[in-house]
Amino acid sequence: MLTILFDGVAYGMLLFVLACGLAVTLGLMNFVNLAHGAFAMAGGYVTVIVMERLDVPFLATLPLAFLAAALLGLVLERLLYRHVYGRSPLDQVLFSIGLVFMAVSATDYFMGSEQRIIKLPAFLKSRVEWAGVSIGIYRSLIIVICGVLVLALQAVLTRTRFGARLRAAVDDARVARGLGIDVDTIFAVTFAVGSGLAGLGGALGTEILGLDPNFPLKFMIYFLIVVTVGGTSSLTGPFLASLVLGIADVAGKYYVPAFGAFVIYSVMILVLIVRPQGLFARPR
């Protein structure tokens, strides 16, 4: 029982790291980016390749996964995404679905369609008994990393000058420009960091979520649920939402395997009906 709770928390934390970049682009920049999972997948594959080909230890690949996905995000933002800001949601959806299709096929072409498995170092695979609860070391590691990230992100967003500028740029890009804030650069950096975090989440999640070319499509809905249910006015909402989703999903699969996914989808629809605008609108 507590083990399930623990696994659920780890799963939820992981979902948060994967989805928080989306919370920023969708919630703060109002951009519907269905291709967010592609960056996570990129991070996952970077870890797999670096571990297989270069024999780098698992933990050392995590920063690499972050950097690679962030770089990819930066390049794509400058080349493509930039032109689609401010267009209708339909255009953004079409654009990002197109990117997903391209990412899925390209990965399939270069990496093969089979599921990739990474070899975790032995010390991460073990479990410890603590007060009668079996705790996986790897999942504790995920919880620690993600917890630190959550706190750091929240601090950056609310306490630093960059966070203030970002919020200003999002609230009213024109006025922010008038005040001498470099909106383009801020958006680019934010997008890159969001993608990088997704990449980190993808790398961390390879063991738990599995990694194959269909990753962006398979988990797109999870990311969207986190963001829609959690709301986007702060990072706390998505964080709580991912925890609830993670626990519900793990527990659902364990206790009522007959309709695990069914429940979360229904909850999402319900939340959207009860608070359709409130979830997406930013408080002014």
């Binding site: 654009f95 197109g98 997903v100 989808y265 229904s266």
Partner: protein, 354 residues
């Protein structure tokens, strides 16, 4: 004042009526198009299966056009209705109700009922919420079909769907001859119906809602009721498309509810252009031809190029492209019409470019 105003109103009403008649009138180019399409299907029996797929996809895209192009409702889960129609038609056939047309009608009614029920979810919220809700509905249905395997066959699909002959005469053959003509005829009839809806005052009021819901409400259009009505109708259309797929392929699998199906039909409609009904048909042809070409080049990775086309379309500003294409098309059509009329009247063709 009053005496002066009254004839004006009468004149305006007469003008409006004339306008509606003109909107509803079939243009020569349209008639040529449908006859040409029929001839192509008849003349090329070896590609019947492809034509069947195109007709079904076109009908599906047509149903999306009704809500997206006319009422401005974005949807990422239109496959919900397609899939419902497919499963209803498939199950009916398995349960012994093998008449295809009756199956179509019941599938349409079921999908329409589902559309009516879910339309209330779509009414609330802006584009983003609509995208999410429609996507969610399709996912829920996918899960239901997946889990309720006693009824739907689950991941194995619904096998052994064997519909009887169409109208009691035309049995389905393995080459898809009957299937392609049956689907084409259904597409045509549904298109006539959609055209009638689009050209009616009801259709015009939908356009008003799409362009500005607030103003539409201000001039007395019951916005919510109109949206519910068109969403229901579009769902029924999609249900017919799904039923056609189930009957002609004699198999229903889970992928009728798949996200990729909703995304594909959106792509089809965007390629063809929204808001003039033919977009779905042109888009379906273009999509299937593209799929054919790309999968001939790279059998497994044609999706990459489809995605590439999508990204390119958006970056090249699809509305502008659509406007240009439509202008060119209508100019060509006018010229063709004038040329034919001139030829019929036996006049010299100098006047052709008016």
């Amino acid at each position: 004042m009053m005496a002066q105003a009254t004839p004006d109103i009468a004149a305006i009403e007469a003008g409006l009526a004339r306008g509606f008649v003109r909107r509803a009138r079939w243009r020569l180019s349209e008639i040529v198009f449908w006859i040409a399409a029929l001839l192509v299907i008849l003349a090329w029996p070896s590609r019947s299966l492809l034509f069947n797929e195109i007709a079904i996809l076109a009908l599906f895209a047509l149903s999306l056009d009704l809500i997206l192009g006319y009422a401005g409702i974005v949807s990422l889960g239109h496959a919900a209705f397609f899939g419902t129609g497919a499963y209803v038609a498939g199950l009916l056939t398995k349960e012994g109700l093998t008449d295809p047309t009756l199956g179509l009608a019941i599938a349409a009614a079921s999908a329409g009922a589902l559309g009516f029920a879910t339309s209330f979810l779509v009414l609330r919220g802006a584009d983003l919420t609509r995208l999410m809700v429609t996507l969610g509905v399709a996912l829920v249905l996918f899960e239901i079909a997946n889990q309720w395997s006693a009824l739907t066959g689950g991941a194995d699909g619904l096998q052994g769907v064997a519909p009887g002959p169409v109208l009691g005469f035309f049995a389905f053959d393995i080459f898809g001859r009957t299937a392609s003509l049956y689907s084409f005829a259904t597409l045509f009839l549904m298109f006539v119906l959609a055209r009638r809806i689009a050209a009616s005052p009801f259709g015009l009021s939908l356009c008003a809602i799409r362009d500005n819901p607030l103003r539409a409400a201000a001039i007395g259009i019951p916005v919510s009721r109109r949206l519910i009505a068109i969403y229901t109708v579009a769902a029924a259309f999609a249900g017919v498309a799904g039923a056609l797929l189930a009957q002609t392929t004699q198999f229903v699998s889970l992928d009728v509810f798949d996200f990729a199906r909703s995304a594909d039909v959106l792509l089809v409609l965007i390629i063809g252009g929204t808001g003039y009904l033919y977009g779905g048909i042109f888009g379906a042809v273009a999509f299937k031809v593209m799929q054919d070409i790309f999968s001939a080049i790279t059998p497994q990775h044609w999706q990459f190029w489809i995605g590439f086309v999508l990204v390119a379309l958006v970056l090249a500003r699809r509305e502008r492209l659509a406007r240009l294409a439509r202008k060119a098309l209508s100019r060509a059509a006018t010229r063709l019409g004038t040329a034919i009329r001139v030829a019929e009247a036996g006049l010299p063709s100098q006047g052709a470019d008016t």
